[in-house]
Point group: C2
Chain length 146, copies 2
DNA sequence: TCAAGATAGTATGTATGCATATCAATTAGC
DNA sequence: GCTAATTGATATGCATACATACTATCTTGA
């Protein structure tokens, strides 16, 4: 049987990503929030690692260095994060959540956690775990960065 | 244990997609081709279903109707596809591969097929199959569209 | 210490990806 | 058969995503 597009990991991954972001956007919008998956990742990471600079943040959640500028700018415009010129490196800015950002993250976190299961709602619990583990294996993710 | 970004399907899927497109672009570029994953999908689908219009193509490979205009335009500029005004619907254009497009697809297809395994090269054969099947289950893909 | 290389951030250009709006044409419902 | 709803394509605007190039700054190494 000739391989078709619909057996190809690349195609399936692309569509899975579409599905994932669609669920995210719908759920967040339904709850009255205006936050993209990428923006959420940035906030979540900054909550765990306050004060890191843009390049470090980009590395930890796998953004492009060029892309993160825009993401950070938009988060700053929404007053969710704050940029502080680094005292040790005059090129860099240290990033911090604002109180608004912290509050929003706390509101949104349970929503985002809940919607993860919904993304994979066609799978049983054990299949869901298996899929997560397989994806982590592909990406060689052992655990969260220190 | 608190859930982190790195356990969340949404985050993993986003990174998997990054990885997948990166491998695709690298391999195609290394072989001297300039074709994105999305453009390849469109060509592959048109080879199997010549003459469909943009909306049908978009539906079959899950593009946005607004996005496909640009994709089609670029493929046409590269002389890989051709737009023929439909004779039965004056709004629509029937899409066909050009000889150039057909030739390119034949050249590129084996490359793309080979690179699929590379995307998941951290997995064993059986894990690879399992991942593909799980993704198809999430997306409820049974088989290729008729 | 000082030149060479690396790095932080920005700018630019291209390509998805989607929401929304619009126009023209088609189909449905009555 | 005619209006209303739908649909094909395009346009606009915003948000990733990445390559490349550029400036300012930092770090290395001879």
């Amino acid at each position: 049987m000739a391989p078709t597009l619909f057996d190809m990991p690349g195609h399936l991954i692309r569509r899975l990503n579409q599905h994932s972001t669609a669920v995210f956007q719908q759920r967040l919008k339904a709850a009255g929030h205006d936050l993209t998956p990428v923006q959420f990742s940035a906030l979540a990471r900054l909550a765990d690692a306050p004060g890191i600079d843009q390049a470090t943040l980009a590395g930890q959640i796998a953004y492009d260095r060029a892309t993160i500028g825009g993401v950070v700018k938009r988060l700053e415009q929404k007053a969710l994060i704050q940029r502080q010129p680094s005292e040790t490196d005059r090129r860099a800015f240290n990033l911090y959540l604002t109180p608004t950002g912290t509050a929003l993250l706390q509101q949104v976190w349970p929503l985002v956690a809940a919607l993860q299961a919904e993304i994979l709602c066609n799978l049983s619990d054990s299949d869901r775990d298996a899929l997560v583990q397989l994806m982590q294996m592909v990406l060689r993710i052992e655990d969260a960065p220190a």
